[in-house]
Symmetry: D2
Subunit: 285 residues, 4 copies
């Protein structure tokens, strides 16, 4: 869309909420392109994602957004607007394996997701060549042992300077410090190589093998201070059989990981996710 | 829901359509329980399914429904209302195999779908015992050779007398006459034992075997005069392997068939489908 | 097959093992119908399932089976033979919900699996009518509170008297005593309503909802003294979305449960499983 | 494996065939690593893939292979041996889109399949840069209009000179001439962007959209002179919904295409496929 807005909103469920939101848009001659709504019956809470074509809007975007405040307050709503089109500035953190990184680069080039990868940051140099071939700055940051805390400070500095809105952990093999998780709450996404909550932590494919499960999986989730326990955005599973070794699971798992991560990021970047406590509401695309 | 309405509506896409529909509901103190909307960009056409809690409605249901006419006309809309709760009167047509029938009976008993099975009609008697055990009238109607036309007349008479709203072909092995298709356009659902449009017509599992496909499937679709070519409501697929014989495909296919049929009927009965030419828009549940 | 044998065998991997087994069969004019083999590289252990047509066997079945002993010993093998055709005597334990029971009855009637259901045993009477309609003895056994131990004794007595080879827990809501688990080690199968090892224990759908997973699942496994931790035979998963309530998960989960249980039992009954520590090797069918 | 053989064999089903093959291997002190067997009951034909560790083989590989001839003849068998390890020389033909090419390059680098890509051949130059970055020779060959026949001659010349064993059509948008199909019968693999046999020919995603199917798919198959009708090696499907436009199907389809192609090539290159008339028997990995 050449000129538009995405509104994400949540508020207590109440009569007339759709009419009020749609009415505000209609009153200013905005056109609803997509209206996705969900009401949580347990919590009596309303969630919506609204895509608005602003081509014929009678006021400018800022006036429209500011004018929504009165309605937002009366609904006791949490809401955000994002102007279309946009590229979300994104930093990708990696260690050794490159399949998730490769996939994100490829999808970005194809225009599958509106992101601008401002930098690729690695605590190993294995992915440096890929970054360079793609023409994206690569920062090698040592994080082993005592260098960890200083490393995260550097990462924080880089992401701040670049105005990064989204941090992607593309098989980044470090446990994130709490202060970093807090700084990127709701905008840091990890791919875990298991079907969470099964096999939290290290070596999930070995554990899956030993437990003899019939499907392996991967989980794309928001990062919180709680290891592998943040809101789940997307998952993918793959059928396995008794003759698959741990090495086979790693191989088959790569496809799950890159798929789940790409789909999850796409949902986030298109503003199709709303975090509600430890759940992620995801309006499908 | 104890007292409510489902509105299904389609109309040319136009500014303010959501606001107007939601506004009408809100103006009469109806509460939106679910608002599903889809805009077809190719056709510039708007489709929606709206579930309304009428508990606090300020007018009675008929007044509300009648009052919508002015808005409906101004939007140039096709629309229907259905009052909640309801049981959709349904006739199930069968021949020999019983797996789809069994599944529908079981799901109906569990309350998975709001239907009342008024009769089971067979051109063979194989399913008679099942019908009787379930306490549902069974009509055996001979349809072989020259008796076919008279048989369909009888079926038509039964369904009319019972006020049947939905006819389900649960592996009913007869080609439907055009006049019958016309009479139940949009309210007759078939399960075809292939992943349409592959393997139209007879013996799809044999054909799938010979073509050595890696997935078999089943397709739940509205019946039109065009064999196996009506709007698709639901499909299901199942992985197969080289060692599966035609008999294995029949066995594995049964699970696809009953699953696809049950899901498709559930969508239809919950008024989650809108037919648009040869496409079925299906708001998921 | 009208006259045949299934051999299941495991032994240390060693040169010539396939040649020796196939040679023994060939030497007695048996015909290999299916030869499934798997070598565990980590353990250096060989596993096979061999289906033999005995139509032209030059000796009688017992002589053939007894004669295998010398080879079995020289291979240091664990092995079993089963004569074809057969019906495996099976007891099904239930509580309230009937979907798994219904599915097993239906598949048995269709001839999908060679079992004879000798009795249905319930600690509630909800499934009594289904049992009676199917013409299978139903035993109501009280197991609440202090009656539990005596109840299991009764079950044990029934299954012994009937020569039961397989005990199926078809949503049987009781924790099995250790002695009962020991008595039916390798021949008692449970369906757990989650994708194990996620959500062990009670209320898995509620837990899955709160964890906001994107797939739910069901797990068919051998019962050991360790709750929900025995060797996994089969699993099934189903995609879910944010708008699915716990009640929806229960509904969607039913389909996973009955599918995973039926497939798992079919594998066991066709002698397609070999338990190896806590893994179940499952030769697909 | 450092030193081994893969035997693929098919012959009329006959008593003792497994014993004879395994016996020949055992007699020469070869060790069976994997023995996959399938008997087609309709055709009474036996198929097998046998992986042999030749570490302790008492004769050299050529002697072993030549010595098998007597047994092969007595079994009336078609068979091939391949020496391990190996890299299969492969040419990839492309037009504009690069997702399948990218995926194959990536998987080759990771060691997921034992191929050596000797050249990338395009009738457009869109993929030239990718080839160059990967360090693989790129041949641009004009094929429009009258240049088509000469173009295929050139391709044939290149593949001959390079000793290419496998030709991959990675979304190569040209209909292959019959003589080229004949030259690479059984060793030319195409990816078709639909779930064959549905939507043969051009624009399958548009057709799938108009038919309103609920799954799209991709099909990896051997190329024969009959358009999109050769033996199917692998397929992949992806769930779609009513709100997906043709453009969305193209996007979602890319993931199906690259997955099905990669899996199919992996099966072929690991000698896990046996073509039998128009079926491909595929021993899973």
């Amino acid at each position: 869309m050449k000129n538009g807005l995405i509104l994400k909103i949540s508020c207590p469920d109440q009569p007339g909420v759709v009419a009020k939101i749609a009415g505000y848009i209609s009153d200013h001659n905005g056109n609803l392109v997509e209206f996705n709504q969900f009401t949580d019956r347990e919590k009596e809470r309303f969630f919506a994602r609204v895509e608005i074509d602003a081509e014929n809007l009678e006021v400018d975007l800022d006036t429209f957004v500011n004018g929504f405040e009165a309605l937002g307050k009366s609904l006791k709503a949490d809401y955000t607007f994002r102007k279309l089109p946009y590229l979300m500035k994104t930093a990708i953190l990696v260690t050794k394996t490159d399949h998730c990184l490769n996939d994100l680069l490829w999808r970005t080039q194809l225009g599958e997701m509106p992101i601008e990868i401002t930098s690729i940051i690695g605590n190993r140099t294995d992915c440096q060549e890929i970054a360079e071939k793609a023409g994206i700055p690569f920062h090698f940051i040592e994080m082993d042992g005592e260098k960890k805390e200083a490393g995260f400070k550097k990462i924080s500095q880089i992401t701040k300077e670049e105005g990064v809105e989204l941090v992607v952990l593309a098989r980044f093999m470090q446990i994130m410090p709490e202060w970093f998780c807090d700084a990127y709450r709701g905008s840091m996404i990890n791919i875990h190589h298991s079907f969470l909550p099964a096999f939290i932590g290290a070596n999930p494919y070995r554990k899956a093998y030993e437990r003899s499960v019939k499907y392996i999986g991967a989980t794309c989730h928001y990062v919180t201070g709680d290891l592998d326990a943040g809101p789940i955005i997307e998952q993918e599973v793959s059928r396995i059989q008794h003759f698959h070794s741990v090495k086979d699971l790693v191989r088959l798992g790569r496809d799950c990981e890159r798929t789940a991560l790409a789909r999850g990021i796409r949902l986030h970047v298109h503003e199709r996710t709303i975090i509600d406590d430890n759940r992620a509401i995801t309006f499908p695309d």
